[in-house]
Symmetry: C2
Subunit: 300 residues, 2 copies
Amino acid sequence: MKLGALGEDRLLNKILLHLPRGKDRKVPAGSADDCAIVEISGSKKYLVLKTDCVVEGVHFLRGTNPSDVGWKAMMRPLSDFAAASALPKFALITLIAPQQTNVAWVLGLYRGLRRAGSRFEVSIVGGETSNTPGPIAVSVTVIGFVEKSRVASRQGGKPGDDLFVTGRLGSASEKHLKFTPRIVESRWLTKHFSVHAMMDLSDGLGADLPRLARASKVGFDIELENLPVARGATIDNAISEGEDYELLFAISPRNRNSLQRQWRRKFPKLPLTRIGALNHKAHLANRKLPRGYVHFQQSR
Amino acid sequence: MKLGALGEDRLLNKILLHLPRGKDRKVPAGSADDCAIVEISGSKKYLVLKTDCVVEGVHFLRGTNPSDVGWKAMMRPLSDFAAASALPKFALITLIAPQQTNVAWVLGLYRGLRRAGSRFEVSIVGGETSNTPGPIAVSVTVIGFVEKSRVASRQGGKPGDDLFVTGRLGSASEKHLKFTPRIVESRWLTKHFSVHAMMDLSDGLGADLPRLARASKVGFDIELENLPVARGATIDNAISEGEDYELLFAISPRNRNSLQRQWRRKFPKLPLTRIGALNHKAHLANRKLPRGYVHFQQSR
């Protein structure tokens, strides 16, 4: 059987089921989550770890500005820190590139990596370069911390919770090289509210929401007419396109009014939209989704 | 200018010179060292970080047993933990592989990764898979800790220090897929002795020793006739071949006798050899090195 015949989720599951457990290992949120979150002895915080990569011809095209590639390579794992409400601190870079790569390209890449890291006070503390006969690949590992009382994950959503998303969905083709992870917003949320479940939308709402629901063991109802669709995008784009890197979270409806009021004051330029709710149903609730429905079904 | 025209050291320097410094960053041993070693607030230990990768066609050949590839991919960064005398705890895996890769191959790879990790109680806590049109690449990031009083680096060697290496050198072609990093030995050394400078030999003594000398701002004298040459290897192999993954360290000659006596008792099967000493000279001391000399020169 070939790798291409497995979805990414299923491959990861197959692999992760065999993971060893160290003697003193505690992983409050599992590896299938956005970040790995582990205990460190004698600390009130969890250690948060995430690795991600971008590959030429898959995540970016050959002629892309190298600084944009660096920005994206750093911001992707940082978006997973937003999902966990964690503070990133350090990054390690692995650059796999052919000998004939221009040094100017590499310097541009690192400019983008540094610029993105600086935005959240992340220090690039190490790295590795390797030759390859293939396309350029950039792997970024980010290490940070989160207070035990504030860690967020896909688990914990309750039936009846409101579902909110930040920003507008479906504009990935324009912004996938330019986005800013919602770390500031996520940290504010967990400081002022009890967020039951949270994730970042990297594969599109239609693929990601079912993952949150599955992890929380609940169903969901989406009010299609309320989806915050980006300018120039369709509802279908908003459901099916990945790389929005917005936050999706579940929170008690008791917090609805105060959340919306305080959000508008704190982040006046960034929409916050209630798109539906979690419910008791274990299967897909909203059958009116147009093409997105197929995507929903596939990803279950 | 192309990447191939720069040596790895020079490229890394060019890049690392531009690294940002976070506000609370403290990096006792710099990024040019084997591991990144950073302060974490409120801890008596340093956080130790290392990333490394293996690429098909560069670090392993197409037909290689995938479990051996996994072993090597995990053990390479662990060897850098040995160099720092640090204890590894967690690992993250990034697998970049084409769609047509056999799932059996991937499962074999993870078997090797897990087996290598278990050897040192390292838990694989997360990872990422990506498609690629190119060769398979496996990037492993290892996270761990070291007591501030026991951290080792390339810096700190003093003129007059004895230079020791563990094991035998020059047998890389046989053992590069099977080696065991010297973490146990390194931890024992820093527990019982004051090790002034240490590194692992991943690029060969001829390339690595000048790096230790440079970082310590000293010269060195090697007694060629004392080099512990592996069976079937030549002195030239012992100097020029990489991937021995043995320890090279500098220690006061006052410790020589007690080190050798205690080592023989503790590790009776693993040779420990005094190969020379550090000195005041800032340039290459041993001019009798045969072909290795060229290698020495190039790497300065």
